[in-house]
């Protein structure tokens, strides 16, 4: 975060080239390439089963992958582990949230800073205040067990917990899944706010309309291949995207 911004070239946080992921003999992702710059929201949209969650799981090290992965200018070896990536500031907010249900909201948040704590940083109480500023609702619920939260609050907690790690790249898997429209709007407002404070994000979404509105750049993932890519504004007006993902009235 301390490195000065290059004048012309925005620095690349994550660069993936020719990435393939297989489940046994079945290949789920076929040689795709993408790039995330600093302070940028990149979205990957696509239908169910296109491989979006597989992509994020492979990036964070939960699944083995083939291809080139350069993160923060460093080529990642094939044997990299989730823990190593977390230490380097990559954090995943998983589709299933994966909260610690029988622990309080504040304990969930504190555990988000576990790796920083282990590395010798003792700033978790300051960070938790920042997270409470971003999600005032979590502040109100801080003593409540995570398992008793509503769907929207759980998503906020999952995001807040990830922010406790002070990530340089946040991977968001379907943050709008199963949430009411009003809550979705709030979540996406927060995503936009996070970009304004400099967090790079790779956002995987089925809710293409909301994702394209907030993102800077977008990829369309279909059956394991990237079929389209471009700045999200131009993708939102692309007839193929409108027909497949935005439906009628996609542009007003």
């Amino acid at each position: 975060m301390s490195a000065p911004l290059a004048t012309e070239e925005r620095s690349v946080v994550l660069e993936v080239r020719d990435l393939s992921v297989s489940y046994g003999k079945v290949e789920a992702l076929h040689g795709l390439s993408l790039r995330v710059h600093r302070g940028e929201i990149v979205t990957v949209i696509g239908p169910n089963g296109a491989g979006k969650t597989t992509l994020l799981s492979a990036l964070i090290g939960l699944l083995p992958l083939r291809g080139d992965l350069v993160y923060l200018g460093e080529r990642q070896s094939a044997g990299r582990s989730v823990e190593q990536l977390v230490r380097q500031g990559m954090t995943l907010v998983p589709e299933k949230r994966e909260l610690f249900a029988e622990m309080s909201v504040s304990d969930n948040l504190l555990l988000g800073a576990f790796d920083r704590y282990r590395a010798g940083h003792r700033d978790q109480l300051e960070t938790i205040d920042h997270v409470f500023d971003i999600f005032p609702r979590l502040m109100e619920r801080r003593e409540q067990m995570a398992g008793t939260l509503s769907g929207g609050e759980r998503q906020m907690l999952a995001m807040g917990r990830a922010l406790m790690a002070k990530p340089r790249l946040l991977l968001l898997d379907e943050p709008s899944l199963g949430l009411a429209p009003l809550v979705i709007r709030e979540i996406f407002r927060t995503i936009a706010h996070l970009r304004s404070i400099g967090v790079a994000m790779l956002l995987v979404e089925q809710n293409a309309r909301a994702a394209l509105q907030v993102a800077d750049y977008a990829y369309v993932l279909e059956t394991g291949n990237i079929s389209l890519e471009g700045p999200s504004g131009s993708l939102a007006s692309d007839p193929r995207v409108i027909e497949s993902y935005l439906g009628l009235g996609g542009r007003h």
């Binding site: 582990s81 989730v82 954090t91 994966e98 610690f100 249900a101 622990m103 504190l110 555990l111 790690a165």
Partner: protein, 344 residues
């Protein structure tokens, strides 16, 4: 049975129950975090007691050799991994931690005669010799198959248990040992006499349980262990690796086991294979708690202690039978009460 005998047996029951409770807590902890049913838990009790007895008798306890051997094995494995990954700077630390520290401990045991040392130092030396064996066991036997099924892990546990019992025979011989009481104090309690050692065991157990409670509720590492038990994937995504959680929970289990051994060694004669039965009674307590609830496990273990004490009076030949038969109604009740819900 008159009141005096009842009180005497009650004393026995509480003392043993306190030890079983500690072991039950360790078993629940290890199972919740790593899904390992830690049968060798009892061996740590025996190793703790017998190592202390060896030190007091002025002998070099055999656990030193085990510590050195396992340390060397781990250093070889970790060293090879580091060399393959070309991370040579990690080598000194690996060597120091796994070979250097055990060697230093062995050398200092040879240099001074441990028999003449004050008791607290002997206890400390015992813990330093026995406790590290637990995380080393995790590293060597369990970590390579951490993702295996509960059954596979259980089979490894049986193998580790048999190996450790055999090593116990080699290290300490077939004779049992008993260490002198920590305190000769005794208190009058009506007609009965309350032994100072009994009070010591109970107080020490309660203190240890309170310390564990604070560890799990107040420290980030304790919370990380609970988090791993609740949601393994979630914990990994926060950088809490399964390896770290496994090493930490095994260290705690080893410490609880060795400490229990030190506590009971003045009360009962401990043989190289005594640990198994003691651990098994802790396991009955843990089963009463469903291998999940800490308070229920502790309460169940105390119940086992009482049941054992009183049944040894009325039907001493069936003492063990009665204790282990307790499992059957408990399992029945548990299986009737629990509804199996598919995870969402």
């Amino acid at each position: 049975m008159d009141l005096q005998i009842a009180l005497l047996l009650g004393q026995d029951g509480v003392t043993n129950g306190a030890i079983y409770a500690l072991l039950a807590l360790a078993l629940v902890l290890v199972f919740a975090v790593t899904r390992v049913i830690f049968i060798p838990q009892g061996e740590f009790v025996a190793f703790g007691a017998l190592t202390l007895a060896s030190l007091q008798a002025g002998r070099l306890p055999g656990t030193v050799w085990l510590l050195l051997a396992m340390g060397t094995a781990i250093a070889l494995i970790e060293g090879a991994t580091a060399v393959r990954a070309r991370r040579f700077r990690r080598l000194p630390l690996i060597l120091l931690l796994n070979c250097g520290a055990p060697l230093l401990l062995a050398a200092s045991l040879l240099a001074v005669s441990p028999a003449g040392l004050p008791l607290p130092v002997q206890v400390l030396l015992t813990l330093m010799l026995v406790v590290p064996l637990a995380p080393m066991l995790y590293r060597l036997a369990y970590q390579p198959i951490a993702e295996a099924s509960v059954l596979a892990l259980l089979i490894v546990s049986v193998a580790v248990h048999v190996t450790l019992t055999g090593l116990g025979l080699v290290f300490f011989g077939a004779e049992g040992s008993r260490t002198p009481a920590f305190t000769d104090a005794s208190f009058a309690l009506g007609d009965a006499v309350l032994q100072g050692q009994t009070v010591l065991v109970i107080v020490a157990s309660i203190l240890l349980i309170v310390a564990l409670y604070f560890f799990f509720e107040r420290t980030l590492y304790g919370k990380a262990l609970r988090a791993t038990a609740m949601n393994r994937t979630g914990a990994r995504l926060m950088g809490i690796s399964g390896d770290l959680a496994g090493l930490l929970s095994f260290t705690l289990a080893g410490a609880i086991g060795a400490f229990s051994g030190v506590l009971i060694s003045p009360i009962t004669t401990i043989y190289y294979d005594s640990g198994f039965l003691i651990g098994l009674k802790g396991f009955v307590g843990a089963i009463i708690g469903g291998l999940a609830s800490y308070p229920l496990a502790a309460a169940g273990a105390v119940l086992v202690g009482f049941l054992e004490a009183y049944s040894s009076f009325w039907a001493s030949a069936f003492k063990e039978v009665i204790v282990f038969t307790l499992i059957i109604p408990v399992l029945l009740w548990r299986s009737l009460k629990t509804r199996h819900v598919e995870e969402a």
